[in-house]
Subunit: 143 residues, 4 copies
């Protein structure tokens, strides 16, 4: 990865928001998971589709949790930072922080993707090359 | 509410699923939040829109967490049960359990909606009538 | 199919709507495509997933068009009726009409799914059994 | 607008695609409508939320149609170009073309937003300043 930590930005759209004029709760999980996918591409060189079709591995989530700190309105830009909180044998614990243009924390997410083998749908050891790159990323972020 | 616990069912659609042929992670939060909304209507008589337009109250989420137990494929029917885990002064802690047709637990969610006043966007005491009905529901579910 | 025309109902949720308090435009296409999928299951006995995994056929859309007649608010129930407008060699032209509880037409959609062979991604003759059932459905709807 | 025609790009995500490994049909309408919203911001300086809260105007769709030319896979980048096909008294006819990295046309959409007054929910004359800017954009695109 050229830069650490990895940050991805998106403009909040009209369709991301609800009649209260703020982001509809489940959209935050879409944003967090898309940030995790983009991070995975940046660090490993594989998106989840290529991971599946070329390496016959998958990356489903075992757990997700979200804390909502501040409402976000259409037109605001959200910057999402992806951090590695823990690296297990078959799973990764990611933290995603979403901040508005003023730098205020709007939401925090924890995601736990597990690497599985497509053929058996069973947890699978994170490939060594991926592990090394994820560790490097973690170091680059300051551990 | 005529029945306790409250259960809502949905058929998993092609569009709910991803290239792995299973429900895409963020859709589970859509399902859980929609179940919570339907439960709120069943228990209080107000959906979130009527709550906002008539009582000038809102019900944003402060927290959501999800554990994914079993993948779910298109065509499967998911039954979601909504339970009251805790009832605070301004917030409700809901548990949502999603089970497939065989009764297997596929996902569990915890949602913490907070009642707020629309004018100030500040936490607001749960209206007494709502509190009474939610307590009754909790009792009917076995405490 | 037990009943013709085929009608599927859904309650419009908070999350289906936007800051104007009405259904967000793209959600209508979700509703129409989900109605078409449910109709396909009812008429052929196959959902698109089973179609793909068992018959190695797909049903992507070649065209979709929508006219929006009346805004729809959260809490309203939409009834969607699926009609066969035309039946080609490899494609089906479906009409989807969405009405509110008062019977007012809220939106109309035209969808043109094409049957393709998964292996080649090329148009494929609609299986004879499917064609017969679709023709029967069309007759049952009054031609 | 600094550049004409207006082009917006997005990477197709895992969650945009279905078990066939291609973009799920309704997502194309999300993409087209989001492109139209971004174009509207670029040309008028107002997103639909600011339009509603500040000018008390709305921009619901009266019509949408889509033709699907080429399947799109996760990881591909789609470039969407927004063109003004017609400018009426209260409505705009937009064309959205989506192309992959090779420049192949993957989908075409036509969208017809109508300007309405929020208070009455009735069609409203496009504000003169907007009309001028939209005409300028159209000219800049070559008419």
């Amino acid at each position: 990865v050229s830069a650490a930590p990895f940050v991805i930005r998106r403009t909040v759209r009209w369709g991301d928001t609800d009649p209260a004029g703020i982001i509809y709760t489940p959209r935050f999980l879409d944003f967090a998971v898309e940030a995790a996918e983009a991070w995975f591409v940046a660090v490993t060189g594989y998106d989840w589709y290529k991971l599946r079709t070329e390496l016959k591995l998958g990356s489903p989530m075992a757990h997700a949790s979200l804390d909502f700190r501040k409402p976000v309105r259409p037109g605001e830009e959200l910057a999402m930072t992806v951090l590695v909180l823990d690296l297990g044998r078959t799973s990764i614990t990611l933290g995603v922080e979403g901040r508005n243009a003023a730098g205020d924390l709007c939401f925090e997410a924890k995601l736990v993707p597990v690497i599985i083998e497509v053929a058996t749908i069973r947890p699978y050891l994170i490939p060594e090359e991926f592990r090394r790159r994820i560790e490097d990323y973690r170091q680059a972020c300051g551990g």
